[in-house]
Amino acid sequence: MTQTKNIDRARFLALLRLMHRIRAFEEAAIGAQQAGLVLGAIHPSIGQEAVAAGVCTNLERADLLLSTHRGHGHTLAKGADPLAMMRELFGRAGGTCGGKGGSMHIADFGVGMLGANGVVGANIPIATGAAHGLKLQGSRQIVACIFGDGAINRGPFLEGLNWARAFDLPVLFVCEDNGFSATTRTATMTGGAGAGARAESIGIPALEVDGNDLPELDAAARGAIAEIRAGKGPVLLHAKTYRITGHTAVDPATYRPAEEVAAQRAKCPIARMEALLALAGVEAETLAQLASEAAEEMTAIAAKAEATGWPDAARAFADVQDIGDPRERAF
């Protein structure tokens, strides 16, 4: 566990700010859902923000990212515009995907964010293929692929990792291990020691880190990404964290004891980062301000999203494919 005064204050203040913005974004989205403004499912990453921050801060803008159903944090951290994201959640015009995707399908190709995914584990072969494409084109870009602990029990995890190793592809696999596969404790359904052991059995080096310890995560991600960019092939980062909220924003998660959640809440990466920065001499006021600024920003963004109009219904028939009439024989 990182416990030192000698941290890069500016860097970690910026990352703390990012974590606050992620949390505030999701809290605003949850509020909007409760108000009936967000109609689709939301999978909050509250308590897991360090993974997004620690991984994405070490990516270059041109690098690519693939995420999951629980991807708001990753997407924001990669540089997507929170207003466009919020509009997407609201299903409004100007959403990242024009309102077609919603929370589970946010993508922003402009910042290298190649998509959340509604199918657990499906992002792994796509990320692997993106890295394959980059390698074929002689690019120096790399790909980061974030997935949950539940995804390691799906076949595409094996196929993608083996492929990345077989072709020595520039891809960072990140297992964001929050202990749960929806309402099921992943450990009860998983043989062996987890993502890292499985990666190593495929010949992929693995690093295990405390996913709520941002400096540790940051250092591990930086090191791994440098190796990958140097052409050494894939690395897997296994970040252990905890999902403070339910599986979705409407899941009360009564299948776990309140004490467990309370204990984990105390270890939340934002609280820990604040403690560390305090130790390093950052004033309490500065820290408090970061939180309130983020909340204000995202509240304003939610209000703007609400004030935005719906997409033109005719867009329903656009971007299906270049040839063939999508309306044929319907209605």
């Binding site: 689709g40 299903g91 409004r92 995707g101 539940g150 998983t190 329903a316 309306r327 044929e328 209605f331």
Partner: protein
């Protein structure tokens, strides 16, 4: 008769059958906490964790394991959560479950029910909204069921569980909360038998799943205009109740097929083609289909709505069918 929901009726079917036959078990993700929609709520408490079996997120293995477990004398109920995720297990269903009995020369059967909820459910977008029932009707070896009412969800699920062949059982997500009359005693509905949901002689509407209700609403409106339509809820898509449909169209001379799935190569094509082949000379108007445009389901309501067959579209189509023919 008592009121119950579509969801509870399905749950009751599982309870009754699992109580009757010890070889039945259910497997899928999160079943111990009731499943993603609560269809399995409380069942693990009744039947234990071995028979209401939580699984890893491994759709291919859920389906494949069910095939093996069925071959060894158990009767698995497979829960796929959303029919979209069943696409992670197509080899297991289509190349294995559906073909095993035939390919191995009838040495054994593969009694399993694959529950895979279908349909548009507000703002669930392209990967959680599909209805691919027509795919399964095309696969030899599969029985395909899509219940529309609480009573049918009880009676058909029970029959599906008793079926000795693999059954793709497609509940509709939008119907979970639907309440309706459900018989209190043992209630079985034969597979392969349609339900005449409303009698009429102007037009035969053939439909299934959630669209049954849209068609019945449209029929009410049409009745006020003096147009009495017959609404046939197929309930089972394979084998479908050809006799009931042909008998009705022979009377009405007009056919409209309505389904939520994409119209192109939807199961409506099979029905419309079959009727056109069999009853060409009895038809007073061309056969007609209503289904979704060939677009993925979008998230935003105004876009999503473009993929829905509306009550208005059904009414228009019926009016078109009964209108006197005008030169094109």
């Amino acid at each position: 008769m008592a009121q119950d929901s579509y969801l509870n009726a399905g749950r009751r079917a599982v309870i009754e059958e699992m109580t009757r036959d010890e070889s039945i078990w259910a497997l899928g993700e999160d079943l111990g906490r009731g499943g993603v929609f609560g269809q399995y709520k409380g069942l693990q408490e009744i039947f234990g964790a071995a028979r209401i079996c939580d699984t890893p997120i491994s759709e291919a293995c859920i389906m494949g394991a069910a095939v093996g477990a069925a071959m060894t004398g158990t009767r698995p109920i497979v829960e796929m959560r959303f029919s979209d995720f069943a696409l992670c297990a197509v080899d297991e269903l289509v190349n294995q479950a559906a073909k095993a009995r035939y390919m191995f020369g009838g040495q054994m059967r593969v009694p399993m029910v694959v529950r895979e909820p279908i349909g548009i459910w507000r703002s669930s977008a392209a990967q959680h909204s599909q209805s691919l029932e027509s795919w399964y009707t095309h696969i030899p070896g599969l029985v395909v069921v899509a219940p529309a009412t609480p009573a049918d969800n009880l009676g058909l699920l029970k029959s599906a569980i008793r079926c000795d062949d693999p059954v793709v059982y497609m509940e509709h997500k939008n119907l979970w909360a639907l309440e309706g009359e459900v018989p209190e005693g043992e209630h079985l509905v034969d597979l392969g038998r349609a339900d005449i949901a409303r009698a009429g002689d102007a037009v035969t509407i053939v439909t299934w799943s959630a669209m049954r209700h849209a068609c019945l609403r449209a029929a009410e409106t049409l009745a006020t205009q003096g147009i009495e339509v017959e609404v046939i809820d197929l309930r089972t898509l394979w084998p479908w109740d050809r006799d009931a449909v042909l008998a009705s169209v022979r009377r009405t001379g007009r056919l409209l097929v309505v389904h939520e799935a994409v119209a192109v190569s939807g199961f409506g094509a099979e029905i419309a083609a079959s009727v056109a082949e069999a009853l060409h000379h009895d038809l007073k108007a061309p056969v007609r289909r209503l289904g979704a445009p060939r677009i993925p389901i979008a998230y935003a309501p105004p876009l999503e709505d473009r993929a829905r067959v509306s009550d208005g579209a059904i009414i228009d189509a019926v009016q078109g069918l009964v209108a006197p023919r005008t030169a094109a």
